[in-house]
């Protein structure tokens, strides 16, 4: 088994367990989003030849098939039905992954998990970039501090969020929040900086692919597909989420600028505005 497949396989099994057994509803919900994202990346890997058909089939059988059955409301799973009956859980998925509604419904009907492929003429050339994207995704789903942040970003009630944002963590608290599973401002800032960093790595990887492969139609389609797969984390269609991200940008900018004075402070603030725009501004909705 290749290292990439082993990493993916271990991770999807962990996420599946988490989606079923977590007592925290928000945890389980996040695990479902991450698991569906993993399915889309598995499909892409299968199409590019990173995994064999039988490797992918094994994952579909062991993880994704039971996962889709659990999306039916209550105990009404009925894969032979002509129309899918949606639960709150499957509606959540559709909201986060609107372009992949066909895959979700086919999955729930047990028809074909390997749906909605993109056209790729020379798959091997995209493999190095695919591996980096996949491992970046695995890293994001395994990072406890980042997981805690996403949970708060997406699901915290306004009062909880506002209360946490009143806290004043120290820089070393933020740097050391990678294993934190509790709610705090340090965790939120840790997660935001991780998001910023990972988004910039993702952007670098896709830009490098586009440049190396001379903007071929393959790489453009690949890049677009990857963005559609991972973009749910910075869902710009939610006003609340956009407002929280904006608050965090301002907060980070303010904290760093506070260490400078005069013209330097203004320069720092401008620089952060540009950097945030470069990384988050280009994300398609």
């Amino acid at each position: 088994m290749s290292a990439v497949l082993s990493e993916l396989s271990f991770n999807v099994k962990r996420l599946f367990q988490h989606s079923l057994t977590s007592l925290d509803r928000r945890d389980a919900s996040l695990a479902r989003l991450e698991l569906f994202e993993s399915l889309l990346l598995t499909n892409l890997g299968r199409q590019l030849g990173e995994f064999t058909e039988s490797d992918a089939e094994r994952l579909y059988f062991e993880v994704f098939s039971p996962f889709f059955l659990h999306l039916w409301p209550g105990d009404q799973a009925n894969p032979t039905a002509t129309y899918v009956e949606h639960s709150e859980e499957s509606k959540d998925l559709i909201r986060a992954f609107r372009p992949f509604i066909v895959t979700i419904e086919k999955g729930m009907r047990g028809e074909d998990f390997f749906a909605q492929q993109i056209e790729i003429n020379e798959p091997p050339r995209l493999l190095p970039y695919y591996r980096r994207v996949l491992l970046l995704q695995v890293k994001m789903t395994k990072d406890k501090g980042f997981h805690s942040f996403l949970k708060l970003l997406r699901f915290a009630k306004r009062e909880e969020w506002d209360r946490l944002m009143q806290e004043s963590p120290r820089p070393e608290d933020v740097a050391g929040a990678g294993q934190a599973e509790h709610s705090s401002a340090a965790v939120i800032l840790y997660g935001f900086l991780t998001l910023w960093s990972d988004w910039s790595k993702l952007q670098d990887c896709l830009n490098e692919a586009i440049s190396d492969l001379q903007s071929s139609s393959d790489v453009i389609r690949f890049s677009e597909r990857v963005r559609y797969i991972v973009n749910w984390r910075v869902d710009l269609s939610s006003n609340e989420l956009v407002s929280r991200l904006d608050t965090l940008k301002e907060q980070v900018k303010k904290l760093v600028a506070s260490e400078y004075s005069g013209a330097d402070r203004v320069r720092v603030q401008d620089m952060f505005d540009r950097l945030f725009e470069e990384i988050f501004g280009l994300t398609p909705a």
Partner: protein
Amino acid sequence: MEVPVDQQISAAPVKHTHVPLDQVLRRAYVLLSGAATVTTAVVFVHGFKGDPVETWTQFQTIIDTHAEEFPDWERTDVFFFDYDSTKASIDDSKHRLLEFVGKVYPSFHFDTEAALPVTRTYSRLILVGHSEGGVVIRAAIAFAGKKFDSDPQRAPILTARVALFAPAIFGFRPTSWIGVVTSFTIFQKLFNLYVAKSTPATELWDKTVLEQLTKVTEHLWSNFPDVTAYRAHVLYGSDEHIVLRSCYLQDCEHTPEPNKDHIMICKPSNGYTRPLAFVFGDCSK
């Protein structure tokens, strides 16, 4: 304070014999296995302000006292590398390490042969680093990997298993906001800001080296995922407060060891034998 190695191994059944390697590299030494068949060479690389004896004192005896439980060590020669961790650049240290490894693996260079009473041909190499030692190992591997990118002759060091205790691959924990942000992100503009702010020039230099090393290694791995040395096994303690706890995308991050800090993570004892298994073991999370 340095503890004489001869005294440390006298209490244990004599399975490994201490032999100085000053003729090959000043202050380096080896514990030669007394087994009939020796297949593996392990090279230990200490960290910042560390020492080839003191950092690894516990390993030197416990590999013999716990040989029944961890039989891999019986068929292993254990080398202890030294470098000037406080003054030498990572660049210089990596060349020193490459030269040292080249003199012992897969078989002995004539300098080494002259210093030792045996000859060997190993089939397995394991590089073990603590803190800055982890950075030196990764820099050596990246250097060898870049050459391999253009030369089909794969350097033997690229076949190594890499086991890192609390590696400083992302630098030390920052105490300023610009330090925190810079530790997460990879923007040149931010580095420049950080430099302007931090007094010791080395702080910037090291950080730039670390960022470059991360990029190069991740890039090499994405092109050659079968090269085992690009994917390190990483173990931190849950009480790590010295370095930033993180891994490269492709790394195997082992579950943090409870109640161990930066120093004690690589000090096995009767009640803490995990380091013995970690050096040889698979990617158990």
